[in-house]
């Protein structure tokens, strides 16, 4: 028994981190084994990032890390030290209007229970940044890292198409 206790790894080590989340800088001391998803949800209260499988397949926990879509359940909070994180709460911010991607999901009925939705919207955000004018096939391929159990994906694909169109238009107006 004594021996067993000694073999039990100790995870009490903590570490100071500084992370910018949705434009706010947070300096916090966290256990080294704390998942980024738990840090965002329970330490910072950004519960819009959901956790669906904790093994990196379902995509519910997708956030942007320095602009890139990552699975926050597969990362430790300490790995985000010094980085910029955007979660679903950062998409429209405090604006009364939704972000064009969110708006497109509303108009095309791209969500039902809403649990996978934040992760999908973050993935779509990254996808459209890379490829502002994707074909349906490209949309479906890019979405294949996110599982939705409610919608059958059809309306999500339509929402992404609509969002892409509007974002391109917005871009042109800016230029």
């Amino acid at each position: 028994m004594q021996e067993q206790e000694e073999e039990t790894p100790v995870f009490t080590e903590e570490c100071d981190i500084a992370v910018i989340v949705n434009g706010h800088r947070y300096e916090q001391r966290v256990p080294v084994r704390l998942l980024l998803s738990d840090f965002l949800r329970h330490d910072l209260g950004h519960t819009g990032t959901h956790v669906g499988c904790e093994h990196g397949v379902c995509g519910c926990c997708t956030v942007l890390l320095n602009g890139e879509a990552v699975r926050s359940c597969l990362m430790f909070a300490v790995q985000a030290d010094g980085m910029v994180v955007t979660t679903i709460e950062g998409m429209a911010g405090t604006n009364s209007d939704l972000h064009p991607i969110q708006q497109a999901f509303q108009e095309k009925h791209g969500l039902q229970c809403g649990f996978c939705t934040p992760g999908i919207i973050m993935s779509v955000h990254a996808m459209l940044h890379e490829n502002p004018n994707p074909s349906d096939e490209e949309i479906r391929h890019e979405l294949s890292g996110n599982i939705c159990r409610c919608t059958g994906y059809q309306n999500i694909v339509e929402a992404v198409r609509l969002a892409a169109e509007r974002l391109r238009q917005q871009q042109m107006e800016v230029q």
Partner: protein, 796 residues
């Protein structure tokens, strides 16, 4: 009054909140002083528990409580049997924690409560359970074998239930039938896999003497009643809330999952809130599953392709327990006749225990199996007689003038299996047009010349929906004119906040956005059952309608008194209540609500306006005359259907099979759906899309694989494949609307429909594509490797 919102493509009211990440799922709620629970689960499918040593876990810093069966006292009771049935002679339900024996891998053995989930899981690792493994029943085949090991030592032959039902005189018909054929058909296990796993948060407030539980469930009211009984609390001192629920699909219409008892137990014991959140690995081995059945079916038909009689005997795998009775196999037996004029039918099923996760309904609930069997029969008749598959179905359809059609069986709710309305041929005609069915053979022949194997399949079904016992609704106009509308059912993505609002808005002449719907909170509405069996829109929707009608009538009476007019001359529209043909004589709905409540201290803008209008002077008698029926504009109504309403549909697909790899891709998918009058087409189409995607998963990707030790060997999303956007094709949806005569809205259920015919039509399409190889599909789900094997077997 003409309806305006009912039937309109209203965008969902709940969306902005969910899109901003502002939904509230159970794990989003963090309470002060909250502790976290973890559950130790059996690693054996069947074993005696010799000893549980929790000493190391109890002393780990940060651990507050370790529970095993012996710590539970009188709470250590088997869960209730939810739906008893005379044929279920050997029911067994689960203890909150296993006592002397475990019966499946994943069964709860101990719970730890600690400062964090991390520490709770550390402590689980320190619990040492000594098991004495026993022989395992891992399949229906083993369960039904002679001298099989027993799942429960006191249940002979592993038989939980046995039921025979006979309609007409099948023996006589079989004896004289021109053609009689036999088939064996197998359906294996799958699971609902909502994206949000289960979860429970319990808070004991000792000042109020109140237990509050947030549970990711489809049935908070029965759970509230059950918890009150278990903990000897008055029902009004237990509040159960199903907040936003991230998908349910049946797996969350259950009571009790052990954690639903253990978490409040720990919270009461410790006097601190306790949260338990299931992880995906746990979900795979502890949330209920479904689908496994083995059918041996005989069928008789004549030279014209008319089905004369069916004799179906099947085995149903209920897993280690029967928490939900024998609802699933009963639904299978009642669904099998489908849209066809079957008058002589023998149905016999045996429910067997296995050492696997317990079975309760998963979207479709016994129906995909039945439709698979019946549609295989239809395909086979077509093949034997060299007839077109759609034509065989048409010849057997019940025609629109034959309703109500009594199948002759007792349905899951104890009522008759009596189809209220339908037009099956209209659905099939629409489907054939959508798929360009008549031109498919030419397309197929052309493709085959290029070495490309295309197949077309169709699947027809009738789905019992909208069953009782009842649901209710309370509708109340508040002082600002917005409408509170509450019901006991829950919402897991079905858009109730929108569809119920549409129903109420039509009656009260307001915008649906001003109808604030509350579901799944026992404090908001005390009565009801839950969301299952495609019943929420039909039953709770009808109750909403009835309550809203009553409120409208009261608003008319109150306004008529104020305006000194007849109630018949009062109208409600655009948030106003006014005298017909004199729209200047108008009040807002909120003002009428205030005047319906004889307050001394009315406050707010509406109240000020109302007073300044000086409408009706002092009246004789009581301020609240009895004929008013109480203060305010409020009504509570209940709806209880005479029996279930029967929705229907026809789906079809064109697929392409690669015989070299066994891979299948969808070229086209179309669904024609009839759920009576449609409240919101956007929502119904979304339900069909999602159902079809789950159906495709259940036909070609998703199969839970247990090894001989009863270990689920694909218990992760890496190995149990949920279809993604890359696998699901675009789905064309069309509607037939045959209103239900049973309820005031004419609606039928739509939630489960999409999933039901998919295995059947998939098998049909594969047979068709692989006709040159002589493949005949007799099992579901398939997967590329299995299809490749079938190809090899057929070649061999």
């Amino acid at each position: 009054m003409a309806t305006r919102w009912f039937g309109a493509r209203v965008q969902r009211i709940e969306d902005p909140r969910l899109l901003r990440g502002k939904g509230t799922y159970v794990d989003d709620i963090d309470l002060p002083e909250m502790l976290h629970a973890g559950v130790l689960r059996s690693t054996h499918a069947r074993a005696r528990i010799l000893n549980i040593d929790t000493s190391a876990a109890r002393v780990l810093p940060g651990v507050h409580l370790v529970l095993t069966a012996s710590d539970l006292g009188e709470v250590l009771e088997p869960s209730p049997l939810l739906v008893p049935h005379h044929a279920l002679t050997q029911p067994r339900t689960q203890l909150p924690l296993a006592l002397n024996e475990v019966h499946y891998v994943g069964e709860a053995v101990a719970m730890v409560v600690a400062d964090s989930r991390y520490i709770a899981e550390d402590a689980l690792d320190l619990i040492d359970v000594e098991y004495d493994p026993l022989p395992v029943v891992h399949s229906l085949e083993v369960a039904s074998a002679k001298d099989a090991p027993l799942v429960h030592a006191d249940v002979p032959d592993n038989i939980a239930a046995h039921l025979v039902q006979v309609v007409g005189d099948p023996d006589t018909v079989f004896a004289s039938a021109p053609h009689v054929e036999r088939e064996t058909l197998l359906m294996d296990r799958g699971a609902a896999m909502p994206m949000e796993c289960r979860g429970v948060l319990a808070r004991w407030d000792e000042y109020e003497g109140m237990l509050t539980c947030w549970i990711s469930t489809q049935g908070p009211i029965p759970i509230r009643n059950g918890l009150a009984a278990i903990f000897h609390l008055p029902e009004h001192k237990v509040r159960v809330i199903a907040p936003d629920v991230g998908g349910g699909f049946g797996t969350k219409i259950m009571m009790f999952y052990p954690e639903e008892i253990l978490t409040p137990f720990a919270a009461i014991r410790l006097g601190r809130p306790v949260k338990w959140i299931e992880d995906r690995r746990e979900h795979f081995i502890s949330a209920n599953q479904e689908r496994s059945q083995f059918h041996e079916v005989e069928y008789a038909f004549d030279d014209q392709g008319i089905l004369l009689a069916v004799r179906d005997k099947f085995l149903h795998d209920t897993g280690a327990y029967t928490p939900y009775g024998i609802i699933v196999p009963i639904i299978t037996a009642c669904t099998l006749p489908g849209p066809y004029r079957l008058k002589d039918y023998y149905s016999e099923f045996t429910v067997l225990y296995t050492n696997k996760v317990p079975v309760s309904p998963y979207r479709g609930a016994g129906r995909p199996h039945a439709v698979f069997v019946m549609e295989r029969i239809m395909d086979r008749i077509a093949k034997e007689l060299n007839m077109d598959r759609a034509e065989v179905r048409s010849r057997n359809f019940i025609s629109p003038d034959e309703f109500p059609w009594d199948v002759g069986l007792v349905y899951q709710d104890g009522g008759p299996t009596k189809y209220d309305s339908g037009n099956y041929q209209a659905g099939l005609d629409k489907l054939k047009a959508l798929l360009d069915y008549d031109n498919f053979p030419a397309m197929q022949a052309e493709a085959r010349k290029q070495g490309c194997y295309l197949g077309i399949g169709i699947g027809c079904y009738v789905e019992g929906t909208g069953i009782g016992p009842y649901e209710g609704a309370q509708v109340r106009v508040e002082s600002d004119g917005r409408v509170f509308a509450a019901t006991g059912v829950t919402t897991q993505g079905q858009a109730h906040f929108t569809t119920f609002a549409q129903i109420v808005a039509d009656q009260l002449g307001v915008n649906p956005r001003d109808v604030l719907v509350t579901t799944g909170d026992t404090q908001a509405f005390n009565w009801g059952v839950g969301t299952y069996a495609s019943r929420a829109a039909t039953i709770a929707g009808s109750a909403m309608h009835l309550a809203a009608v009553k409120v409208r009538e009261k608003a008319k009476r109150v306004a008529a008194d104020l305006f000194e007019a007849s109630p018949d001359d009062i109208e409600l529209a655009n948030g106003k209540v006014f005298v017909k043909d004199a729209p200047h004589r108008a009040l807002t709905l909120g003002q009428v609500a205030i005047s319906a409540n004889p307050l001394r201290y009315a406050y707010g803008e509406n109240a000020r306006k109302l007073m300044s209008m000086n409408l009706a002077g002092p009246r004789p008698g009581p301020a609240l005359p009895p004929e008013r029926g109480g203060p305010g504009l409020e009504a509570t109504e209940f709806y209880s259907p005479p029996h279930g309403s029967f929705a229907s549909g026809v789906h079809g697909a064109i697929i392409q099979v690669d015989p070299k790899t066994g891979m299948v891709t969808f070229v086209k998918y179309a669904a024609v759906h009839d759920c009576g009058r449609v409240i919101n087409p956007i929502v119904v189409e979304g339900q069909v899309h999602g159902g079809v995607a789950q159906g495709i998963g259940g036909a070609f990707f998703e199969r839970l694989v247990y090894d001989e030790e009863g270990q689920l060997i694909n218990a992760s999303f890496m190995d149990y494949l949920l279809p993604t956007a890359a696998e699901i094709p675009p789905i064309i949806v069309d509607h037939v609307e045959t209103p239900s005569p049973l309820n005031p809205l004419g609606v039928k259920g739509a939630g489960e429909a999409g999933v039901i015919p998919v295995p059947a039509l998939f098998a049909s399409a594969i047979d068709d594509a692989l006709t040159p190889f002589g493949v005949r599909v007799r099992e579901m789900p398939l997967h590329p490797c299995r299809l490749y094997e079938l190809l090899k077997e057929s070649k061999g």
